[in-house]
């Protein structure tokens, strides 16, 4: 029984090592081993996309709050302008990238 357990343990270790080494076994030589990351400019663009989404979501929320009576007409009038401007600026800044982007895909991995 003890020998059997030791053999099983050794097999487990070998299987784990093989699995861990797989990236190197599958690709012993590679032209590019660098991690793909965003450059500072790309990061800034990504933040612009977030800014655009944030502004659009805020606009929708503002509309809804106005409809449900949480926001007075005067406050709505004061708030809606800057939000629209913010969304427009982000959209404008993103325009060159959007033009080169392919059509939106329908489905992605659900964020967990």
């Amino acid at each position: 029984m003890e020998i059997f357990a030791v053999v099983l343990g050794a097999l487990l270790a070998v299987a784990c090592v093989a699995f861990v080494a797989r990236p190197f076994l599958a690709e012993p030589e590679t032209a590019d081993d660098r991690l793909a990351g965003l450059t500072p400019v790309e990061q800034e663009r990504l933040q612009l996309a977030e800014q655009r989404d944030r502004a659009l979501a805020a606009l929708k929320e503002l509309e809804f709050d106005h409809r449900t009576g949480k926001i007075a007409d005067a406050d709505y009038g004061e708030l809606v302008g800057p939000l629209r401007r913010e969304a427009a600026e982000a959209l404008q800044a993103l325009e060159p990238v959007r033009a080169s982007a392919p059509a939106p895909v329908e489905r992605v991995d659900a964020p967990a």
Binding site: M1, E2, A5, V6, L8, G9, A10, L12, A13, A15, C16, F19, V20, A21, R22, P23, F24, T30, R34, L35, A36, G37, L38, E42, Q43, R45, L46, Q47, A49, E50, Q51, D53, R54, A58, E61, L62, D65, R67, T68, G69, K70, I71, A72, D75, L79, L94, V97, S100, A101, P102, A103, P104, V105, E106, R107, V108, D109, A110, P111, A112
Partner: protein
């Protein structure tokens, strides 16, 4: 075969150390294949720990007493369910469960989010590996569940208090909550380490955080239900240090779940959110330390051990490293957005955060003060319920009020006039309820009266939110009223699921105030045939009986219950004497009346040789609302976590943009 278990743990230890070191190097130097290899090590570690867990489970199921752990925590007469639950009944097993859940959840989170946050994953993997290394180290070198001995004829058995159905679910859920908080921590620190200023990590971990928070909250309630039935003093929460240990990370995680919405909507509170994520994780480690170190006296602590120093050291390292990283990235985290008005939704979230964190810190001080006092002055002191009750009321009531006011305030800024209009109905309902309760005699407990009035205010505000939202959706052409209602929830699950959770908290408040402020207690010694009057219940002691169960001798007092002349049947209250464990436990009788929302709770404190029995009887009004609140809490959390197709489409659009960016 303990050798296989030991080997699997050694392999797992090697793998997680590799994931930490190789992953860290890969992230630092930007090596793709090495990072993939480190990620694989994390996945393989989960498989290896699962093998170790299976070995222990098999040993438990086979009553293999050559495993010291199995002999110390089970016996031949222990029913199978409890035998298997001994997996987490002892220190070594519960550490193994920690590592199993950590490597499992960590692997799943990395696997599911590898595309969404691929810039953050390089640092997330080594952080997860580092945390797992600590637990693997403990299991391999300090507290192995695979120690062996010459098998005795029988085991020592499981602590009788743990032989309760709620203990089958409470510890694993608690661990899912504790360990789950590692995921937002690892991703947040990963984002900071990689210098990512975007909010991908928040999106990636949102559901993990919510799920962990739900597990933790539900586990706290299951623990309360266990204490109510098993410990048998008639209450449900006693501010015990181990109960508080779970409450603290839950409070901080609650604060984070609110403040992260401010970051998502206004790009504010970024430093604060990083601090909350790190704080919640450190407190979850502290909770495990309190439960498992034996450093405190608690009805929930079942162990005395030497791992306390290891845990304290690890908590110190995690706290110091997180603080250093947050300070290092302060320029990145600083927000350019400012609070526009003190009367706004984000301001309400800020106040809510201050009260939640203040409450968590107050509880923390109550827990550690006895330890500090003993260490510094050599004097053992106890922090009792009055301390916690005072601060729970002082911080809890404003929090309840904010639960009602917050949803009625708009983001950015709200005029006092519009707010006044919104508050009119809830305030009117609260006032009416308060006056009615006063007329009904509820003034006997002023905190109870205030609590109920506030509860009515919050419930009215929630109903108003649903009504106004449904009306607005209907006006926008969402079809029937039912269609408008479902589309309202479907279009903003987080908001309306959150309101359901708020309603659950209000129910819990109503139940807690009911049992705390309006309960009845009577004690009496009765002989066979004698009756005892408690409130409008009449209890007649019919005599005692004894029977031999599988692993205990059960002694019960049989009592006939009547109310207003109506016979309601008989109940049994008594004690169990566990043979293998040589311990006795109280087995209370509980008669729940769901229509009156109250429990008749009977403790048979002492069986006398003359045949009489000493009874303690309580009427616990509204206590069942606490358990109902638990179910509503889970329902609300599920609504909040349910996948949103529109959100996925929005994320898909951003994926495309990022792809275009990478090619630009």
């Amino acid at each position: 075969m303990p050798e296989l278990g030991r080997a699997a743990l050694v392999v797992a230890f090697g793998l997680v150390v590799y994931a930490a070191l190789a992953g860290g190097y890969a992230a630092f130097r930007g090596r793709r294949r090495l990072l993939e290899s480190a990620t694989n090590a994390l996945f393989a570690a989960f498989g290896s720990v699962a093998v170790a867990a299976l070995v222990l489970l098999a040993a438990l199921a086979r009553h293999d007493f050559s495993f010291s752990y199995v002999a110390s925590h089970t016996s031949r007469e222990l029913p199978l369910g409890y035998t298997l639950s001994a997996f987490w009944g002892g220190q070594q097993g519960s550490l193994l469960l920690w590592l199993l859940v950590l490597t499992g959840m960590g692997s799943a989170a990395v696997l599911l989010n590898r595309r969404l946050v691929r810039g953050v994953i390089p640092w997330t993997v080594p952080i997860l590996g580092g945390i797992a290394s600590f637990f693997a180290l403990l299991l391999v070198f300090v507290a192995s569940p695979f120690g062996t001995q010459v098998a005795p004829a029988d085991g020592a058995g499981l602590n009788p208090s743990l032989q309760n159905p709620y203990m089958l679910a409470h510890p694993p859920l608690l661990y899912l909550g504790y360990v789950g908080l590692t995921i937002p921590f690892a991703f947040a620190m990963g984002a900071l380490a990689s210098g990512r200023a975007d909010e991908r990590w928040i999106v990636a971990t949102r559901r993990w955080t919510l799920a962990s928070w739900t597990f933790l909250g539900f586990a706290i309630l299951l623990g309360a239900k266990w204490a109510y039935e098993e410990v048998g003093w008639g209450g449900w929460y006693a501010w015990d240090p181990v109960e508080n240990a779970a409450l603290m990370p839950w409070l901080v995680a609650t604060a984070y779940l609110h403040s992260v919405m401010v970051q998502e909507k206004k790009n504010m509170l970024r430093v604060w959110n990083a601090v909350l994520v790190a704080g919640a994780f450190c407190l979850s480690l502290f909770g495990t330390f309190l439960t498992r170190s034996g450093v405190i006296n608690s009805i929930h602590s079942f162990t005395q051990s030497s791992i306390g120093a290891w845990f304290l050291g690890f908590i110190a390292v995690v706290a110091a490293a997180s603080t250093a990283l947050i300070l290092y990235r302060l320029p990145l985290l600083r927000s350019r957005t400012r609070l526009e008005s003190l009367v706004s939704r984000e301001a309400a979230f800020l106040y809510n955060n201050l009260f939640l964190v203040a409450l968590a810190l107050t509880v923390l001080w109550g827990v550690i003060y006895p330890l500090v006092s003993e260490a510094v002055r050599g004097v053992a002191v106890t922090v009792g319920a009055p301390y916690y009750d005072f601060f729970a009321i002082a911080f809890g009531l404003p929090l309840v009020l904010l639960m009602g006011v917050g949803p009625l305030i708009a983001w950015r800024r709200a005029s006092l006039r519009a707010l006044g209009r919104s508050l009119l109905w809830p305030a009117g309902v609260a006032l009416a309820v308060g006056v009615m309760l006063l007329a009904a005699g509820a003034g006997s407990s002023p905190p109870g009266l205030v609590g109920y009035t506030f509860a009515a205010f919050v419930l009215a505000a929630i109903v108003l939110e649903f009504v106004r939202g449904t009306r607005a959706r209907h006006a926008l052409g969402a079809g029937s009223w039912v269609g408008a209602f479902t589309s309202l929830i479907g279009r903003n699950r987080r908001r309306y699921g959150g309101y359901v959770v708020h309603a659950a908290i209000v129910l819990l408040l109503v139940g807690a105030v009911g049992i705390g402020g309006f309960g009845t207690t009577r004690e009496a010694k009765v002989s066979a045939g004698q009756t005892m009057q408690v409130g409008d219940y009449t209890l007649t002691y019919l005599g005692s009986e004894q029977r031999r169960a599988a692993n205990a001798v059960e002694v019960r007092a049989r009592l006939a219950v009547a109310r207003g002349g109506n016979e309601l049947g008989t109940i049994l209250a008594g004690k169990n004497r566990y043979l293998a464990e040589q311990q006795t436990s109280n087995e209370v009788a509980i008669r729940s009346d769901w229509l009156r929302a109250e429990d008749l709770f009977v403790i048979a404190d002492q069986f006398n040789t003359d045949g009489s029995v000493f009874l303690k009887v309580l009427i616990n009004p509204l206590v069942n609302l606490i358990w109902l609140a638990g179910m509503l809490f889970v329902a609300g959390s599920l609504i909040t976590m349910w996948p949103d197709a529109r959100e996925q489409r929005r994320l898909a659009r951003r994926f495309v943009e990022e792809g275009a960016l990478a090619r630009a």
